[in-house]
């Protein structure tokens, strides 16, 4: 029973951490609770669907369906995170300086929230489908049982939720004027780590043949599959044996998002004086 709880927890840890960051990143934006809930519920529903069709998905594209699916949803999440950060670069100043201004940004804020809901949904979907397959496997075997599935499933999810709450509470200790800068960086590194993971799936599928050489090995200090290693892997993309392709994807996404946010904030506000709302918005 404990073993199943630990496995479920490790799978939901990723979603738990991402929910925590997203909640902090959207502090003060109206309607965020609805979008976050939508992302989680959508992800869980999607998990069941993906698990039900797992064999079918796996058989697609000359048996590389599973890898392409994983890489695909990860890259969607990367795009959504990039878009959110660009939006924050345009509107973040309003959020940080003047909470009353948030009302003005709500309509466009909804689009940004939708993007983050997709990111949460994708995180839940990817790991959730594995949880569903694992738990249905226990249900099907003789030694397992309904109690194990319920305890493991609910207990694991409760621990995942606890992680969200703790990370959120921790991030809220940061003063508001620094909070959005911090969460923007966290979301950028999250995106970069996701892109690096996506290259792994493409390499495993035999689609990406180059850059498979491992550049360095820090598994002696911190292993990927330790709890801290796994948490850092999700948060900042830590990996103990990065390949050349992973590093390239990581750096490309960090650079890409930095350029994108700089470009999005260009012409946003004059450095002095109150911001004029242009009719184009």
């Amino acid at each position: 029973m404990l073993a199943s709880l630990i496995i479920v927890f490790r799978e939901v840890l990723e979603a738990g951490l991402i929910v925590g960051i997203v909640l902090a990143a959207t502090k003060g934006v109206a309607g965020r609770g609805r979008w976050v809930t939508l992302g989680i519920v959508g992800g869980i529903t999607g998990s069941c669907v993906v698990a039900a069709f797992a064999d079918g998905i796996s058989a697609l594209f000359a048996d590389t369906g599973q890898e392409l699916f994983n890489a695909g949803v990860l890259l969607v999440a990367v795009a959504m995170l990039a878009w959110h950060n660009a939006w924050m670069a345009q509107h973040g100043r309003e959020l940080a300086c003047d909470m009353k201004a948030v009302g003005r940004a709500v309509s466009s804020g909804e689009t940004s929230l939708a993007a983050l809901a997709v990111v949460i949904g994708v995180a839940v979907l990817r790991e959730g489908s594995e949880v569903v397959l694992f738990l249905t496997g226990i249900l099907a075997s003789d030694d397992g049982g309904f109690a194990t599935v319920v305890a493991g499933g609910l207990g694991g999810m409760a621990l995942g939720a606890l992680v969200s709450v703790l990370l959120y509470a921790g991030l809220l200790q940061i003063p508001t004027r620094h909070l959005f800068a911090t969460t923007t960086w966290l979301l950028t590194l999250l995106a970069a780590g996701m892109a690096a993971t996506a290259t792994n799936f493409l390499a495993q599928a035999g689609i990406l043949m180059a850059g498979g050489t491992v550049l360095w090995d820090t598994s002696g200090m911190l292993r990927d599959n330790s709890l801290i290693g796994q948490a850092l892997h999700i948060l900042v993309g830590y990996t103990d044996r990065p390949t050349a392709a992973q590093l390239a994807a990581y750096l490309a996404v960090v650079a890409g998002i930095l350029l994108l946010t700089r470009w999005a904030s260009r012409g946003n506000t004059p450095t002095n004086g109150p911001r004029m709302v242009s009719p184009a918005e």
Partner: protein, 116 residues
Amino acid sequence: MRRIQPLAAACALALFGATLATAAPARADDAPVTIVIKDHKFQPAEVKIPANKRVTLLVDNQDATSEEFESGEMKVEKIVGGRKQIKVMVGPLKPGRYPFFGEFHEATAQGAVIAE
């Protein structure tokens, strides 16, 4: 109008990444190395593969339940359905021992690839 632009740029960024990935050449042609899963154990528990080249592993799950074939050392992670087979590409690996395991039955499902 200006609000659309970041979204378009974000999509362009994702497309750029996808293009990079798919621009690579096709797969290796060597015969795959087979690992069977039976009663939540790997048979053989140790397989030898050539070092410093891309190798395809074929995982044949003869159990009725799903398994997740996983190895941090080889950077693979793939679900194998009950009574299904999957292929994963690994490497190029430096000579050495690379453990793998079945995440859904970690107590018994342990094995390793020896690259030499």
